[in-house]
Amino acid sequence: MLSTYVPIVGLFALAAAFALFSVAVAPFVGPRRYNRAKLDAYECGIEPVDQPLTGGRFPVKYYLTAMLFIVFDIEIVFLYPWAVANDALGVWGLVAMVVFIGTVFLAFAYEWRRGGLEWD
């Protein structure tokens, strides 16, 4: 049974080997000719600073986005087994799923109506 996953493990090993090989070999074989221009921001870019002015914080609005993402993520996770076993579950499963989606949609509709999805 586990032998099904051997190609995935092989792929992981290949990816890791390639990454290690690239990082280890590049300093030895690659040319290194630095000058001021190469260290500059590209053309009209601004000079990079290591710390943004706001102290490295996100606007709190993103929290709402993350929360909605989680809500729909979990909804999808529940939808998947229901869809696979739909034939066996029948009408009962359909009703259960409609009630669940209804409750989740309630929150979404409320957020939409209150303007929580408008960015500014």
Partner: protein
């Protein structure tokens, strides 16, 4: 394979993976608790969660493994990181005890909780007959119909209440996030894109604002273009006009503030000045 031994036999592959990833998962958990940097903690937790996902897959529960990776390492971890970024990634944890005896109490309660959970699981599974995967999964569409079907058969019938309560929990989370973060605006107080555009075209400067770093310091045709290293571009000299030196903006953050990679490399022309175009020697040919 008889039903009595079906659940007890552990394959070589499973054993190998367990003994490799078990310590890795444990190390991730310890690293999460012990690291000072909150972002490092989150990354250690990702390691543990991924290991658990592999464990699920190895125990022939690929659906749960995928859910573990998608929901926990995907969604939950993103939420953790968002909260970290909202609070500020440099906020260090306080070493001052605000509640007296907090740490001792936390240790005692943690140990007690672990003992309680362990004892509960041990009692519940003590005399449980080992059925094997095929027997357990034979719920919905006949014997051993599969992983996902078995989960669905229990989730939407026997554990229906828990399933619907999850929906309520999601409502609470989403509405709570909205109430905490959303700022109500008066209807109509927000300018639409059309209004903003109209307002801009009514000014004497209807074009878009310049991008960062491209403020022109001169409109004269005599102002030469600059090469990336600060020299003047010969190709841009206007015919018959002496190129005019334009006073440049000082760079917002000088390299000297960010350390000096130029000095460290040692191969750079030291006569270049820090302002582009302000080459002191005037060497442009």
């Amino acid at each position: 394979m008889t039903p009595e031994t079906a659940g007890v036999v552990i394959g070589t592959g499973e054993a190998v993976i367990f003994w490799i990833l078990g310590p890795v998962a444990l190390a991730g958990a310890l690293g999460m608790v012990l690291s000072r940097n909150a972002v490092h903690s989150a990354l250690w937790l990702v390691l543990t969660m991924l290991s658990l996902g592999v464990f699920y897959v190895v125990q022939e529960a690929p659906f749960l493994g995928a859910v573990q990776v998608i929901v926990y390492t995907g969604a939950i971890m993103i939420l953790f990181l968002f909260v970290l970024m909202l609070v500020g990634r440099d906020s260090s944890d306080s070493v001052v005890e605000t509640l007296r005896g907090q740490r001792v109490a936390a240790l005692a309660l943690g140990a007690g909780f672990a003992a309680l959970v362990g004892a509960g699981i041990a009692r519940a599974t003590q005399d449980l007959p080992v059925l094997g995967l095929e027997q357990v999964q034979g719920g919905v569409g006949g014997p051993s119909s599969g992983n996902v079907e078995a989960v669905a058969g229990l989730l939407y019938t026997r554990y229906l209440l828990a399933f619907e309560v999850t929906g309520a929990l999601l409502i609470v989370a989403a509405v709570g996030a909205l109430l905490l973060t959303h700022v109500e605006r008066e209807p109509g107080s927000r300018q639409t894109q059309k209004e903003l555009s109209r307002a801009r075209f009514l000014t004497d400067r209807p074009q878009t604002l310049p991008g960062p770093g491209v403020h022109a310091r001169a409109t004269s045709v005599a102002a030469p273009a600059l090469l990336p290293d600060g020299r003047l571009a010969e190709d841009s000299f206007a015919t018959g006009i002496e190129p005019e030196q334009v006073e440049q903006m000082p760079r917002p953050t000088g390299r000297e503030q960010l350390g000096s990679p130029d000095a460290a490399l040692g191969s750079l022309d030291p006569t270049l000045s820090d302002t582009p175009g302000g080459r002191t020697g005037g060497e442009h040919r």
